[in-house]
Assembly symmetry: D2
Homo-oligomer: 294 residues x 4
């Protein structure tokens, strides 16, 4: 990081971290550019991160660090549930969230609902390292449907043990905004069993403190136990926040040993997540930045 | 983070995160640009982070998030020491590391050694929120000296309880490189009491895994207890790693309550660090990225 | 321009060339940042261009290439006038346009009207190479006034031989927009002698073809002889257009020898402009780009 | 160009203009990324410029402004030759230089020599608007060969009336460097008829004054009549220089009417170039920038 080095010329992804800060990552090769009915999809090779999925100009996940995001999203709540059988994923087009859920041998049904069928076809074709065959697991049920509509009108009531909301950012594309609303969380609750647990990714609390606070409030209006945690994702250029919620289960009460023992009994193998990290997450402290006066 | 927003034009700091990724942060106002004998110093106002210190083109600390870095650097080892009296800081020109050390009422002498006297004058003049008068605390002793030389030739032997190495990155300017060497850590050990403890910031382990591994090895060659932790620093665009080391004291064994009770008994007030975060740090997991083939 | 070079890290000016293209130029040193009543002013040293004036985030002129802009703005019309005595400049805060006008020994009065008195004070203090003492020339009259108001209400009628409009871009800050209107050109005409001639800088016709066409039309509505020319300005990242207008004088009819002989008889010395370049300008071809569908 | 606009996020081409300045242009769609034996090839859609060819990270030509470059390269020398029949092009993989040469009905043979056969296949497939079928013109002879070797060992002596060197920049990829040497120009001269004329693109004289001066010197060492001209190319972010050379023909002596009359008699239709522009080119003034001390 000396003053005499610099960014090499060529194609880059130029990405916003906040309204006043941007991130540039060098692109090695372009594999796909396509516009689906819902969003612009790019699949490309980044010098630093390997193959990457980019939606509407924003890096969603990359070969070299996707495990940090997907393991942190899925396991804390799934491990907190003592016997999770029925799982629901909204979003998660790459199939990596599904992959992580299915690692828990207790799961006998994982419903994944993504609005963008074309995206899933691209993921199947170009992003094997993400889904790793999870779409073909007999326990998987893939629905191409609006997640909001699915939860509102289609899903069975009081059915799911764990619900994972794997969406674009709450301050991001319009497509995901309603999936962070108070109404939506009420409907999510209605499809969960009484002792179910849910989690949502929640963007970044430091750069978007107001949006984050609103999402947190919308969740608190519906659940009595709400836990926040975050983890740095290198390819995002910032830390990603998560919010877990339940009326009966509290991930913050799980000990390191309990987590490790459940992972072992369910045959879950991970690269990053384990009992110590679980404790670390729920002992961590979420930070809200100062929003610059506009 | 919608596709229809972008980075506003005007002056920015263009900063490398890794050889293949860069960060751009908008500048609101330029306060000082100067070249000292050792480095280029800039003090400026950033839209997102408030007033900032930039050395050789790299953001060192900013008004809105410096507490994350400085509290995380200083308190984990200082709180782990049961009765820290003598503290040594190498680097830390802004005075914020000194400020944090002095919060521990048990400290009766804090020696700060920085090679760049001009930088310290600038900090005194323009960065009040960093030092907050700590240079004038009667317990402070400021030496303008090469930290390497101080530890090698000048410092008393077996004298310090805590040593804080607050340096530019190990893959950064030449000026700091020798302060990450095996020889240097041996000398640091010689100025510490037998039950002393030290910490160094260690750059970023994900983007510079080889450099980080070398620094870790150099420390392990000298100390029997070595603990790693990291925290995301928003204005850096990445997480910052820290390595703590001692022959007798282990920060990973401190409980949440012990930490909180020591902070209370020493009248330490913080914005971010506390017993829960301490536990979170030492339960966390350090990640080494895949270095792209060059 | 090999793939293995890149842009060095550090502070840069990040500037828009068009809604889809930006320009980054490395900054060596910051000299001044200030907000006047009308605009944000920065004076800084650029690695490639020397000292520069930046208004509202846009480079206005730099030490190493300002002569291209200022000579191209002033001399074509001034040399076309056979005996220019009274000159009016609207804008031109740096004083370099005034400097060029005053080179013509026939000029006995040069009125410069700039709305931003603070800017002129900064120029006097930090930009000697721009004005080169022209503010102190006894023929100069400097008025701190809104150029629109001056031309509408204050200026004597049928008085000026040459009028130079040295403004920010027609698609730029609000402050200059009305100075490109049909009404304003009618008023400008009213303060010119019948055989007077005027020129305006007109931004860039390739990236802003609609705005340029509108400005051209506004001028054509008022003058019977209208000539367009342009020149590449390295520090702008694009070519700058100019439009000259008169009811009697035609710069396109001046021969190379006539231009050179007038320059000589008036003791005008230049770095760039001469008879050949004059002919080149009016034989050149203005290009309108294709505006991307938004 | 107001301070409140900015560059939209998403993929961009990040390109160097000089060692201290860079250019960013937004990419709409990626069509091809491939590595040939000689260079990296990208074909993509830019928001501002339409479809573009990028070699080794540098924009070579774009749909919306390629005519400026190709017409300016080819016609000034071809029109200066009173009866050009045999033409040689070195480089020019897109086929647009060939297209322009073939517009002159007097041409009965146009030999194009490009080292990169894969690039030409990509151009044939994806860049119709560049070549417009010129590869299929019965007068065209395409050779996949090293241009240096062709001129040295293969080409007939004293054969060509016009020679066009359409290469990557003289300070650019290694692949083109030897094609700007004194030895190469001597060999080029040997394959030209005594009254032949040649032209080379010569990069940018303002940002690379030393390289440009060396190329100019190398040409002057071989030809008695050497003429320089330049034109701004929007998608390059700078002006492109050209150098024409002959022992008998002087483009600077052609009048506007002569140029127009030859274009007409040879049925040449252009978008940009004509007699007035020809005169403008050779009355223009080439500028050498100040190279910053490194």
């Amino acid at each position: 990081m000396m003053g005499d080095v610099g960014l090499k010329y060529g194609p880059v992804i130029f990405e916003g971290v906040s309204p006043n800060a941007a991130f540039m990552t060098r692109v090695k090769r372009f594999i796909l550019t396509a516009r689906t009915k819902y969003q612009e999809v790019q699949i490309l090779e980044l010098y630093e991160y390997g193959r990457a999925l980019v939606l509407d100009g924003y890096i969603q996940s990359t070969e070299n660090d996707e495990f940090i995001y997907h393991e942190s999203l899925v396991h804390p709540i799934t491990v907190t549930h003592p016997h999770p059988k029925k799982a629901l994923i909204i979003g998660g087009g790459e199939g990596a969230t599904l992959r992580e859920i299915l690692k828990h041998s207790s799961i006998d049904e994982a419903v994944m609902v993504d609005i963008d069928g074309e995206l899933i076809e691209f993921a199947k074709k170009y992003l094997d390292f993400m889904h790793q065959g999870s779409f073909n697991d007999p326990r998987s049920k893939l629905l191409i449907e609006d997640g909001y509509k699915y939860v509102k009108d289609i899903a069975p009531r009081k059915y799911f043990d764990v619900v994972v909301l794997d969406l674009t950012d709450p301050y991001g594309p319009e497509i995901s905004r309603k999936l962070y609303s108070k109404e939506f969380y009420a409907m999510v609750k209605s499809v969960m069993k009484d002792d179910g647990i849910m989690v949502t990714q929640a963007g970044n609390s430091f750069f978007y403190p107001r949006t984050y606070a609103r999402v947190l409030e919308n969740i608190k209006a519906n659940f009595s136990i709400v836990r926040e945690y975050w983890v740095w994702i290198p390819s995002f250029g910032y830390a990603c926040n998560f919010i877990a919620a339940s009326d009966t289960l509290d991930p913050a009460l799980m000990s390191e040993d309990e987590v490790n023992s459940r992972l072992k009994s369910r045959n879950v193998e991970t690269k990053f997540y384990d009992g110590a990290l679980h404790v670390s997450f729920f002992k961590g402290k979420v930070l809200l930045g100062k929003v610059p006066e506009e």
